[in-house]
């Protein structure tokens, strides 16, 4: 029996070739994982009549952990987003989005090492919208005490467990005194449990400006859903783009690790795209599973391959195929562990 059973959801477009490369690397690290492959996305519509088949949901419910490739959300078809449905079904309230400097990307910052914790289930994403007259649309921004407290508590605990020093609550409570005020109040309450962590708050517009001017000053940020959606992409931009931006959606009993980029269908089957974002998400997953040593080895090998710049994908100036890049990481990992 394998030590870990993980639901693998390759996704759509370039997802399957990316996930295959990532599986190769993770398996080569020696971690004992049985992969359960499941479907998601547009192909499932014809087969199952839904973007997210029940079989996939049941697999995740059983295994409690999944690694997921990118999917395409159809616009204006009336079908619910599979990603949003997954978050709702498993109440994956914490969207964890770390960003850090990757030397090969040659960014202008001296330091960039931020972990963003985006609340993933409420705010103006609660799908409560009405046309309240034929001239006026309204969306309810729903912020709750338990929803706010648990993301703050989660972020502070993650910070403590991972040796981080400072967590800031991002808000606009000076204007939205009830909603963002409640989010901030819950954060301050949760922070009382973590006297060893430095805490504070910052208004979202100032945070955006400070991130662009001097991202090195930030350690961990905890944000309501909408600000988190925007600022986590801004942070990915600081790092050099979504190609290296990993993510995890975590609940109390389940975690789904996935890149935040799209499925790039125009490149599907060409083995051209960079699998790094899903690979780093896989590294996060290994740490989640307690496989820290293997996670560190993969990460170190990936950075070494990127630093050498010989066997890298087109987006970082190379000509390597997706699987060639993965093989180079495996070779580096094996060489490093001799």
């Amino acid at each position: 029996m394998a030590k870990h059973v993980v639901t693998m959801i390759p996704g759509e477009g370039t997802g399957p070739e990316i996930c295959e490369a990532v599986r190769m690397v993770i398996d080569a690290s020696g971690v004992d994982i049985k992969w359960e492959y499941e479907d998601i996305g547009l192909d499932c519509l014809e087969k199952y009549g839904t973007l997210l088949p029940e079989k996939t949901i049941q697999s995740i419910a059983k295994n409690k952990v999944a690694l997921k490739g990118p999917t395409t959300t159809p616009i204006g078809t009336g079908h619910k987003s599979a990603n949003v449905t997954l978050r709702k079904v498993f109440d994956l309230y914490a969207n964890v989005r770390p960003v850090r400097l990757i030397p090969a990307l040659k960014r202008p910052w001296d330091k960039l090492d931020i972990i963003n914790f985006r609340e993933n289930t409420e705010d103006s994403y609660a799908a409560i919208e009405h046309m309240v007259s034929d001239e006026v649309a309204q969306c309810l921004k729903v912020i709750t005490w338990p929803g706010s407290y648990r993301i703050a508590d989660f972020a502070l605990k993650w910070a403590r467990d991972n040796g981080r020093k400072k967590v800031l609550c991002v808000h606009k409570a000076n204007i939205m005194k009830m909603t963002d005020g409640l989010f901030l109040e819950a954060f301050r309450e949760a922070a009382k449990k973590y006297p060893d962590i430095e805490t504070g708050d910052i208004i979202v517009d100032n945070c955006a400006m400070q991130l662009v001017r001097n991202p090195g000053q930030f350690d961990c940020l905890v944000l309501p859903n909408l600000y988190g959606d925007i600022l986590t992409d801004l942070c990915a931009g600081l790092m050099g783009g979504l190609g290296f931006a990993p993510g995890a959606n975590v609940g109390d009993n389940c975690a789904i690790f996935e890149a935040v980029h799209g499925s790039a269908p125009k490149y599907a089957g060409m083995k051209k795209v960079n699998p790094s974002a899903v690979l780093i998400s896989g590294v996060m997953m290994l740490r989640w599973l307690g496989e820290k040593e293997a996670a560190d080895r993969i990460e170190k090998a990936m950075y070494a391959v990127l630093d050498e710049g010989k066997t890298v994908t087109y987006d970082v100036g190379g000509t390597a195929k997706t699987d060639e890049y993965a093989q180079a990481i495996i070779d580096k990992m094996r060489a490093g562990t001799k």
Binding site: K88, I128, E129, M131, V142, P146, G147, C254
Partner: protein
């Protein structure tokens, strides 16, 4: 020369409006509310959501965080007038505490309200 505001007002389009139901926000600590069809007049509860997630009918994840505030969507079972919504609220108030009600309209036949996840 019209101002931008005047131009904007001039582009407004009038639509045919039809009252089709009510979203009612109920406060209760006793779990997911239950309603019998027609209990409060010509309305049928179509779904109930909590923090935007559908909690009735159908599967509810045991992991789901719920608060004491439920959006209950009542759709009219026949063509209705405003006074029937008012009567509905009077009847419902005898049994339930609620924070707000939002009428649901169709605009030129299209729903002017979102579904729940």
């Amino acid at each position: 020369m019209p101002t931008f505001t005047q131009e904007a007002i001039a582009t407004k389009k009038k639509k045919k409006i039809e009252l089709v139901g009510v979203d009612l926000y109920i406060i209760t600590d006793k779990g997911i509310p239950q309603f019998a069809d027609g209990e409060f007049g010509p309305f049928k509860c179509e779904f109930i959501s909590n923090r935007g997630t559908k909690v009735w009918p159908g599967f509810v994840s045991p992991d789901l965080l719920m608060v004491n505030w439920y959006r209950c969507r009542f759709m009219a079972t026949k063509p209705i007038k405003d006074h029937e919504v008012a009567d509905f609220l009077v009847q419902l108030s005898k049994k339930w505490e609620w924070s707000a009600a939002q009428k649901l309209w169709n605009y030129d036949g299209e729903a002017g309200y979102s579904k729940a996840y």
